[in-house]
Amino acid sequence: MKNPSLFGKTLAEIEEIVASLGAPAFTARQIAEWIYKKHITQFDAMTNLPKSLRHQLAQGYSIELSTAVKVQTSVDGTKKYLYPSTGHTFIETAYIPEGKRATLCVSSQVGCKMGCLFCMTGKQGFQGQLSTGEIIHQIRSLPERETLSNIVFMGMGEPFDNLENVMKSCEILTADWGYGWSPKRITVSTIGIIPAMKTFIENSSCHLAVSMHTPFHAERKKIMPIENVYPIQAVVDLLRRYDLGKQRRLSFEYIMFKDFNDSNRHIQGISRLLHGMRCRINLIRFHPIPNSPLASASEERIQQFREGLVSKGFRTTIRASRGEDILAACGLLSTKELVKTQAPDF
């Protein structure tokens, strides 16, 4: 049986491990720094640890990393990496270079339970949670890691349905014993699972993005089943209770669907819903998926919609579509074809 990996452990977890091995507490920080700052993959390389401790660690743990099993490159330079997860499942990660910036779109689950009508990941159902190590590994093993300027949790899965591991990932990414990233370079996106979102806001400094897609309850229910239990109005009500400060960004994601959520009535609805909030709105082109009754709004309409929101005082951007030809664009990540599913219960 394979030894458990230390990769993906927080400092507190490593402290517990070293205590169980009878080693001094300060060695935990040394180990964390070897793994996350110096990127070593062999315990023997931890040269400031006693040889006996290195031996103990090697007997009971591992820090080996797997590599991506497949890479696809888009005509626009976007790359999609395929990583193995547990149980013969796979996840996808999108690397998106753009001028001097480069963003990595990481996954938090294999598949997704949320069933949004417009999302390809949702069509494969849910196969499992990613461990903290599997989340961090998407960054650690990226060949272009040194070029990254931003990390967004917008890949496969709903991050707040795997809150514990996402929170630990953010901790490892931002801690001084970890990767030392500024939390301002990390955005976690959610459809609005309220209790988890509350925990995240209160215990993290990373940016938050909320998938809105329509300001109206009855409409949102049609495309996002989560609206039944965590309605967008309640999500916004909760967000209004917090002062996120000037350093922390709150954004709302809005995929533009033709004749569904692209009218002037929707501009009014968004304006009422977000009135007085300091936030950004990101308009996203819809990338059609098979068997979808939805279509993308026209470029002209998206521009008009943006201007309408700007005139209401909202900072509004239109997200560039990247990696569409390799199915790496927003809403297109899926490993359904690679999933070996058990017999379903229906």
């Binding site: 598949g111 997704c112 339970k113 949320m114 069933g115 009508l117 949702g122 069509k123 159902g125 849910f126 709903e158 349905d161 809150l163 309220i194 209790p195 309850h217 229910k221 049609k222 495309i223 089943p225 989560i226 609206e227 039944n228 239990v229 309605p231 109005q233 309640a234 009500d237 909760l238 209770r241 068997n291 979808s292 009754p293 599913t341 017999a343 379903p344 219960d345 229906f346």
Partner: protein, 232 residues
């Protein structure tokens, strides 16, 4: 004494409803291996189709469960599947009469009505439809329930006596009298005259809901007529 709640489909004052309060388990039933029905003293009104958040103690994050009792029933009941690697359900399965649990007031907007409609469920996804049935919303409904084995059709006697031929049990893993042998999705695919005027309520796992929704869309059912509740 019941609290009076504004029935607001979960929107107004939603956040104030999230805090959990202590309730007492009146009894727990094992419906089949790994599937339980948990009953509590009822202290709040609810709308059929709503959910409650439940935890055994405040150290375990609460999870949402559809209410499966009727709005006139004395007890409030939920169904749950035991997940052996889960944090909460192994603890729920250990509960017995008199034990405390933490529970929210009911909320949610997966609400039924008395119009003709289809209720489509897999496994414990039948829970909200039992609540609707027991709350006087059975008229004009067709119920499709999918399960792997013949003992997956919880409350089948109640559904059979209420809906008769309009209650279809799709059993993918076994042959048995009165059951359609095959997956629920297969049964749905075979239907060539689905009403475009009725609403289709779907409840269960993401896999089931997404597959059935795709079938309905292929059969040109407008998305306005599809209501989904996914267990997550």
């Amino acid at each position: 004494m019941r609290n009076t709640l504004i029935m607001d489909a979960g929107l107004v004052d939603f956040i104030e409803k999230l805090p959990l309060s202590k309730q007492i388990v009146t009894h727990i039933e094992l419906l089949r291996k790994g599937v339980y029905m948990l009953h509590f003293l009822r202290t709040a009104d609810f709308l059929p189709g709503q959910v409650v958040a439940i935890s055994t103690d405040l150290s375990v994050p609460p999870r949402l469960y559809s209410i499966c009792s009727g709005e006139q029933d004395e007890k409030l009941s939920v169904l749950f599947n035991l997940k052996s690697d889960g944090l909460l359900t192994p603890k729920l399965a250990q509960l017995s009469q008199g034990d405390p649990v933490w529970i929210s007031t009911p909320f949610g907007a997966f609400l039924g009505d008395d119009q003709p409609a289809w209720w489509i469920a897999a496994g414990t996804g039948i829970a909200p439809f039992r609540s609707m049935m027991r709350s006087g919303m059975a008229n004009g409904k067709t119920v499709i329930h999918g399960g792997r084995s013949a003992d997956s059709f919880y409350f089948q006697n109640e559904f059979l006596s209420t809906f008769g031929e309009n209650y279809i049990r799709c059993c993918s893993g076994e042959h048995a009298e009165g059951l359609y042998h095959g997956r629920l999705t297969q049964w749905m695919q075979e239907q060539d005259r689905l009403s475009k005027d009725q609403t289709y309520y779907l409840c269960g796992s993401a896999e089931m809901v997404v597959e059935v929704r795709d079938i309905l869309i292929e059969k040109e059912i407008p998305i306005d007529k599809i209501m989904s509740e996914i267990y997550f």
